[in-house]
């Protein structure tokens, strides 16, 4: 009973309802909830949890497998660290974060398509509210409109799936859908894909991310980039694996969308002169890469990419927004050489950058390698070429920033301490500790990829049915 996975949703919700009236203890409730969630995560047995006493496909159930475990663990840990990092800001939004947590957990656990829609909406609305913390309401509005439109698409898709198959349970839905004629399953699949495209930041509809991510603060930046983005990625992975049947048309459209997201996102990031905007476009690009992996039937690589990106972005956004807040501006000129004053932050930032770019000895490298290897097995040799070429661009801008942030010197001269910017207070010791913990996690994961990959390997049974582009048609 106490070890039921349902606590992951019930507890945050309960805490959220309570926190509205118990405002003094809000923040404590949030932290305690997250810690309890971690406990639950380790105590809960894997398997199907029934809600309401009705077996699937009739009732709603929660599917807690290795895949969900990885996703949930990542999210609980990152969220915990982020709210500690951004404590003053998080205090104002505690109930929202709690509800969002419940939504995220529900989204990753649920085994019912319509319930998934509800959970996605919860998370989206929480995200709207959180994004108002940036203080740019037009961007929130933009995000809101797009996300709602895609939500309607998702809803329609869900309903059509129900109309054709008569069930809504996620696990094994693909089997039923694949047996439908193409003319029937095409439109619901398209609607489901577009229903997720906005949150996944795929290219034609990723315009919201530029400003929401690009003007983030210490709270929203890490939450959006390191919690929401991987969560939606994981959900998409689940969908690709269990629900969505790709026809050659939808498959290639999705693939092209993912590739262009990756390429255009990184190209746009390449030209930015604002640190947060750069990171925003980088997030867009990385999301495209992960989607590409899931589309091509390489969930493993997708998971690794998501984890790497989440960990790296939590550090990058944490440091970048902190530094931006302290120095007043995220432009290259202002932030030049700031890491001279903030060595630990700089080291964490550098580690995260190197991992993001996929440089060896860090997690990102193994993610990238498994991505490319997985694509080879689909026979699409040109896709790795695109990935690696874009990785050059990615490396280029990340390194440019890294060099600028570390070195206070002017071009053509040796650095001297006279040119350093005035030192400002960025983080308290506690916050620096959090960043350090994140960096240590990232670094350790890169050090022992084998151990880590073994753990991931257990996700394999659940992710057994690799679906390739166009396979839906053959059936």
């Amino acid at each position: 009973m106490m070890g039921s996975i349902i606590w992951l949703i019930a507890l945050p919700l309960l805490a959220a309802f309570v926190s509205v009236v118990a405002q003094t203890y809000q923040y404590g409730l949030l932290v305690v909830t997250l810690l309890m969630n971690l406990l639950v995560l380790f105590a809960a047995p894997q398997g199907l949890t029934i809600i309401g006493g009705y077996e699937p496909p009739f009732g709603i159930s929660l599917l807690f497998d290795q895949y969900a475990l990885i996703a949930l663990l990542l999210i609980q840990v990152l969220l915990l660290l982020i709210i500690v990092l951004a404590r003053p800001l998080a205090k104002n939004y505690t109930p929202v974060i709690l509800v969002m947590l419940a939504g995220l957990n529900g989204m990753l656990l649920t085994n019912d398509l319509f319930n998934l829609f509800v959970m996605i909406e919860i998370v989206s609305i929480a995200a709207f509210i959180l994004s108002t913390a940036n203080g740019k309401l037009t961007h929130t509005f933009h995000y809101l409109i797009l996300a709602t439109v895609s939500g309607v698409f998702f809803l329609l898709g869900t309903v059509l799936v129900y109309a054709y198959t008569g069930i809504l349970v996620v696990q094994g839905l693909m089997m039923r859908l694949a047996s439908l004629p193409v003319a029937l399953s095409l439109i619901p699949m398209m609607l489901l894909i577009f229903g997720m495209a906005v949150e996944l930041k795929l290219v034609p509809v990723s315009s919201w991310a530029k400003n929401i991510y690009g003007q983030a603060n210490l709270l929203t930046g890490p939450i959006f980039a390191a919690v929401l983005a991987p969560a939606f990625g994981f959900v998409f992975g689940r969908m690709m694996n269990e629900v969505i049947v790709l026809h050659s048309l939808t498959g290639y459209t999705l693939l092209v969308m993912a590739i262009s997201t990756f390429v255009l996102g990184e190209l746009a990031a390449y030209r930015q002169t604002d640190l947060l905007k750069t990171l925003a476009f980088s997030s867009i690009g990385q999301s495209g890469l992960a989607v590409m992996m899931f589309t091509l039937g390489a969930p493993w690589a997708g998971i690794l990419l998501l984890i790497n990106n989440a960990l790296a972005k939590s550090i990058l956004y944490g440091v970048a927004t902190g530094v931006t807040a302290a120095y007043g501006n995220a432009s290259m000129g202002v932030l030049k050489g700031v890491f001279y004053h903030h060595r630990l932050l700089g080291v964490a930032f550098s580690l995260a950058s190197l991992s993001l770019v996929g440089i060896p000895l860090f997690l990102g490298f193994f993610a990238k390698v498994s991505a490319v290897m997985a694509i080879f097995s689909t026979g699409l040799i040109w896709v790795p070429v695109i990935i690696l070429l874009t990785a050059i661009v990615e490396g280029a801008y990340v390194m440019r920033w890294l060099l600028q942030l570390w070195s206070p010197a002017f071009e053509g001269y040796l650095a001297s301490k006279k040119e350093l910017p005035q030192k400002r207070n960025v983080f308290s010791a506690q916050q620096i500790l959090v960043v350090g913990v994140l960096a240590v996690i990232l670094f350790t994961m890169g050090l022992m990829p084998q151990r880590f990959v073994d753990a991931l390997q257990k996700t394999q049974p659940a992710m057994a049915q690799y679906e390739m582009v166009g396979q839906g048609e053959q059936q």
Binding site: M1, S4, I6, A10, L13, L14, A16, F17, V18, V20, V21, T49, I50, I51, G52, G53, Y54, E55, P57, F58, G59, I60, N92, Y93, P95, V96, V99, A102, G103, G106, D112, F114, N115, V118, M119, E121, I122, I125, A126, F128, I129, T132, Y162, A163, Y164, T165, G166, I167, L168, P181, A183, L184, L186, I187
Partner: protein
């Protein structure tokens, strides 16, 4: 130009969408029976657990769900978890509105005589209707959401009609919070008593009786209260105005 292009696109989409959907939808052609493969059949028959049979209003007892209104069965029992999500959405948007409007002060809207008088007369009636709707949600059309909305309307009428209520919305928060928490606790009770979250652990009684369908009426009462308080809160927040300083 933009409008023309958009119109053109919409027309193209309309044409192809209807043809595409037309190809395969059975329901498009007015079926006389619910498709056999749909899981709703089991809901209608209360047959999910395999113990259903012919349901007779006022006679069938101890059904798995026990609500005469099948939609209510689904909303509050079979798919109660969705409803929990749903009220969470509402809760969230109330929170959001509250946060965004947090800087405003209470409205100084002056209520007229007609409003004041009418509110005094109509509001209690509406409140009563609302309560009726959600308590009978498992028997008749309606339920927590319409009932709650009606209660909210009644409250708002009262709110606009009276000057004393405007200054204190704290009880709304309490109702909202308590109702939500109780819903979850009810679900957890199901977990502890019957083994799964939100399980209908009370005896379901006879189909069609007021005291039947186990926790369904309880949940609907909670939902009604919560929705009522939240919707009231949202509208009340909307009427706040900016502090002019």
């Amino acid at each position: 130009m933009k409008k023309l292009v958009s119109l053109f696109l919409i027309l193209v989409l309309a044409f192809f969408l209807t043809t595409a959907l037309d190809q395969g939808l059975d329901f498009w052609h007015s079926p006389s029976q619910l498709d056999a493969f749909r899981m709703s059949n089991a809901f209608v028959q209360n047959d999910v657990l395999g113990e259903g049979g012919a349901l007779v209003f006022g006679e069938s007892k101890n059904l798995e769900s026990g609500s005469a209104n099948i939609v209510t069965s689904i909303v509050v029992d079979y798919r109660s978890f969705d409803t929990l999500g749903e009220i969470t959405v509402l809760f969230l948007s109330a929170l959001g509105v509250g946060l965004l409007m947090g800087s405003g002060v209470r409205t100084t809207l002056r209520s007229g005589f007609i409003l004041k008088t009418a509110a005094k007369m109509v509001a209690p009636l509406m409140l009563l209707t609302g309560i009726y709707i959600f308590t009978h949600g498992h028997l008749t059309p309606g339920g927590g959401f319409p009932g709650g909305s009606m209660m909210a309307t009644a409250f708002l009428l009262h709110y606009f009609g009276s000057d004393t209520v405007k200054s204190n919305l704290k009880p709304l928060k309490w109702i909202e919070s308590t109702a939500g928490a109780l819903y979850i606790l009810l679900g957890l009770a199901g977990l502890f008593v019957a083994g799964s979250f939100l399980q209908n652990f009370l005896p379901t009684g006879t189909l069609g009786h007021l005291v039947s369908a186990g926790i369904i009426p309880l949940v609907y009462v909670l939902v009604g209260l919560k929705v009522g308080s939240e919707v009231s809160g949202i509208v009340a927040d909307f009427s706040k105005t900016e502090v002019v300083s």
